[in-house]
Structure formats: structure tokens, C-alpha cells
Amino acid sequence: MTSSDQLTDQQSAHTEQDLVSYLTGRLKTEVAAAQDLFDTGLVSSMFAMELVVYLEQCYEVAIVGPDLKLKNFRSARSMAALVHRLKTTVTPDAGAG
């Protein structure tokens, strides 16, 4: 593993922890990083949209098209993975939204 991989892994873990804090505050209940928010009935499609905008605003990414899949918002971990992927993938037009 290169040092840059380690760095991004650390960032991803950091993002995951941020999201756990956000979700815990927002849902007023303890949330675990891998907890399935949909199965536990914590999240509606309206809240899923809230998460989309939250992630976009907080992490300066654009979540569009096929990334708008529920599975990407299923847990703090999956959201952190999505953010990580979007941060490390070059999207020439990401700022247009």
C-alpha cells in the first residue's frame, strides 16, 4: 500500500466518522457506521435526498445520475465510500450543477 492510499483510507475513515456524528445528531439515535439505515426504518426517500444535498455541500462533490442509488446511502460507510470515490475520480463537469 502506498502512502497516498493510506492517506485516502484515513480520510475515508474520517468521513465515515463525521457521517456517524451527523446521522446520530439528525436521527437522535445512536448510529453505527455499517448500520443499514433503510432496514431499520430510520431513513425515508425524503431523508435520502437530504443526505444527497448534505454530502454535496459538506464534501464538495456532485452526486448525479446513477450515483443516486439507495445503496449508496444505506449506511455511513457506504456514503463515505461514495464520497471517497467521487473525490478521487475526475469529473470534468462536476461544478456545473
Partner: protein, 372 residues
């Protein structure tokens, strides 16, 4: 109260110039003149939030909201087409890949017209019942299904159709003139009579894969919520416009007509009606401003704020227009009259983009989730 026309003088003047005193005639005829739609579309005003980089004006939600309210105060049918075009543009902005996005948005800001098809005969409030399919077939896709009450479809050059795609959903841009597309107008709709509501039948419509926004695979709920969030904010501002038209008409009538030796406005029971219409207009406007400010600050609360605004503004428009009709009485007793239109148009606003009851369910769900 600040006059929106001050901030949007040129845009409002163009709308005023194009609509003139014809909205009543358009309502009775059930038709908007195509040149009016083309002029506004070419000016980019039917989807004014499209970013400048894509050929749009790049208005904020707040400014576009005021423009939408102004247009709605003149003609709700025209405002409905504006809502549809804006919603199509927003869906494309959110769902398309970069290449598609620029191409389609340039078309929509350059004079082409679009509508969005959600509802089906068996899927209204419960959009999880959507049966329209988008299937891969060789290099392209095949679309089959039926969309009902598609606002603006009669005028549209392209229809953004929401359908099932593989295990998820997709939005596909269907050219009106594609083989297998049949658009038939809703006859005598109760409100927004000139908005070009239509049934769109899609039979074995073959399109290139590039017509599927972003390659598809979006969750149906997220796709629908994304598009409707824009639609709800827009409808809410349209309702504020309905109320502004009602307030103007009711005050004009109540101060201009004398009964029992004094102007109607000096009769206390009528005066209370005027107060109630003013309150309705202000309440609706505050809810709209709240939602647009959430939109413009990119707040995660924009989704729920849009539902709240639509619910509040449509309720206020329905009650406020009913009150205005009571004030004008027989003076507004004929179709085409601004208040008669408002009364019918406002009722329709309690139904589209999520019925009042669906909005209440979403709001209740939000109340429970945030109170835990």
C-alpha cells in the same frame, strides 16, 4: 411589501407584454399561442435557473420564484408550462452525464419545450407502481408505457419519461416526434385549462442509448423526489401568484363597487375577506421564500421545505381564491375571469406534484423523525 417587478423588471415586462389581457381567452379556448411559449423559451425564462454555462440565465431559486409568481398571477396555464420546463431542465441537470446535460440544456434554453411524465393510470400518488419500461435492445433502448396528465405535453418537443430500467429506474428523453409516441390532450381539464395536459402513450418507442439520462440505474424514489423538489417549489410560487392576482382583483372590486350606499370594502364582512386574502398571499409567499432560500443555500432541508411550501401555498391559494370569488360574486361568475380561473387553477394545485394528503404524510413522517 417589495414589488417583484422592480427586481425583475425586464423579465416581468416581457411576460406582461406577451400575456396582455389574453389569459382569459386562452383559458376559454384551452390553448396557449405557441409563439408566446417559444419566445419565453428562447429567452431562457421557462427554465431560468439553468446555469449560464449551459446557456441559461442562472437565476437563483428566489428570483426564479418571483418570476414564477408573477407569471402565475397573469396566467396559471403559462406558469404550469414554466414549471414543467423547469422541472425537465432540473431533472436533466441532476441525472444526465456531462455530455447529455449540456446538449439538452442548450436546447431547453434555446427555444425547445419539454414536459415530464410521472403519473400513470395505475400509479398516481403511489409512484412505486410505475409500469412504464425502458429496456435495453442492441445499441439502444425500447420504451413502452402510458403517462397521464403530463403538463405541457401538448406543446412539448421532448418528454422526460420516468420508467423502470433493469432493477432500478431511469429517466429517458423521448422526442415528441419519435415513432410510437402518441400525445392526446386531456379534454376540458378543471384548471390550468390551457396548460396542454395530455396522455402520452409510448408503444415500442426505439431510442438511442444516449437518450437515457446518466445511463439510468437511479433509485426510483430518489429520481422522483429529485424532480418533484423543483416542481413543488415552482408550484408553490405559482400559488403565491394566484393569490396576488386574487388580492388585486378583490381589492379593486371591493373599492370600486358601492352597495347600501358605501363601497363593499367598508362592509365589515367583506373587509374581513380582504384581510384573509392578504394573509393567504403573505403566508404562501413566506413558505415559498423559505423553500427557495433552502434551495439557494444548498441546505439539506430543501426537500422537506419544498413539500411544506407546496402544501401551504396550495391550501392558501384554494381558500384565498374561494374567498376572492365570494367577494367578486357574479362579477367573477364566468370562465375566463381572473378570479374564476384562480378558483379552478388553485384546486388543481392541491392535487398535482403530490396531493395535499401525500404532502401531509411526508410532513408527518418528518415530524416524527425529527422529534425522536
Amino acid at each position: 411589501m417589495p414589488a417583484p417587478a422592480d427586481a425583475l423588471a425586464d423579465e416581468c415586462a416581457l411576460v406582461d407584454d406577451l400575456v396582455g389581457d389574453q389569459a382569459g381567452d386562452w383559458d376559454v379556448a384551452g390553448r396557449l399561442p405557441e409563439p408566446v411559449l417559444r419566445k419565453l423559451a428562447t429567452a431562457g425564462l421557462l427554465c431560468a435557473q439553468v446555469p449560464v454555462g449551459h446557456g441559461g440565465i442562472g437565476m437563483s431559486s428566489r428570483r426564479n420564484g418571483e418570476l414564477t409568481a408573477f407569471t402565475g398571477s397573469r396566467c396559471s396555464s403559462l406558469r404550469s408550462v414554466m414549471t414543467s420546463q423547469g422541472m425537465a431542465a432540473w431533472a436533466i441537470e441532476r441525472l444526465a452525464d456531462p455530455g447529455q446535460r449540456h446538449g439538452y440544456l442548450e436546447e431547453l434554453t434555446g427555444g425547445r419545450l419539454a414536459a415530464v411524465g410521472f403519473s400513470e393510470p395505475q400509479a398516481g400518488s403511489d409512484l412505486s407502481g410505475i409500469e412504464t419500461t425502458i429496456r435495453s435492445n442492441g445499441d439502444g433502448v425500447v420504451v413502452d408505457g402510458e403517462k397521464v396528465w403530463v403538463t405541457g405535453a401538448h406543446y412539448a418537443d421532448m418528454i422526460v419519461v420516468i420508467g423502470r430500467y433493469e432493477d432500478e429506474a431511469a429517466a429517458v428523453v423521448v422526442p415528441r416526434r419519435a415513432r410510437g409516441v402518441l400525445v392526446s390532450r386531456v379534454v376540458n381539464p378543471v384548471g390550468c385549462r390551457a396548460a396542454g395536459h395530455a396522455t402520452v402513450r409510448l408503444e415500442n418507442v426505439r431510442l438511442p442509448a444516449s437518450a437515457v439520462l446518466g445511463g439510468g440505474g437511479t433509485a426510483l424514489e430518489m429520481l422522483v423526489t429529485t424532480a418533484l423538489t423543483y416542481g413543488r417549489v415552482s408550484v408553490a410560487w405559482g400559488c403565491a401568484g394566484i393569490l396576488r392576482a386574487c388580492l388585486t382583483a378583490a381589492v379593486s372590486h371591493a373599492t370600486g363597487r358601492t352597495q347600501f350606499g358605501q363601497p363593499l370594502a367598508d362592509h365589515q364582512l367583506v373587509a374581513r375577506h380582504l384581510a384573509n386574502i392578504l394573509v393567504a398571499e403573505q403566508v404562501a409567499t413566506r413558505a415559498c421564500e423559505h423553500a427557495s432560500d433552502r434551495w439557494d443555500s444548498r441546505s439539506p432541508q430543501v426537500g422537506i421545505a419544498s413539500v411544506l411550501a407546496k402544501h401551504v401555498a396550495a391550501s392558501q391559494a384554494a381558500s384565498g381564491s374561494s374567498t376572492a370569488l365570494q367577494v367578486l360574486a357574479s362579477a367573477a361568475g364566468q370562465d375566463g375571469n381572473v378570479v374564476a380561473r384562480a378558483y379552478r387553477d388553485a384546486k388543481l394545485m392541491e392535487i398535482i406534484e403530490g396531493t395535499q394528503e401525500i404532502c401531509q404524510l411526508i410532513l408527518a413522517d418528518h415530524a416524527v423523525a425529527t422529534a425522536r
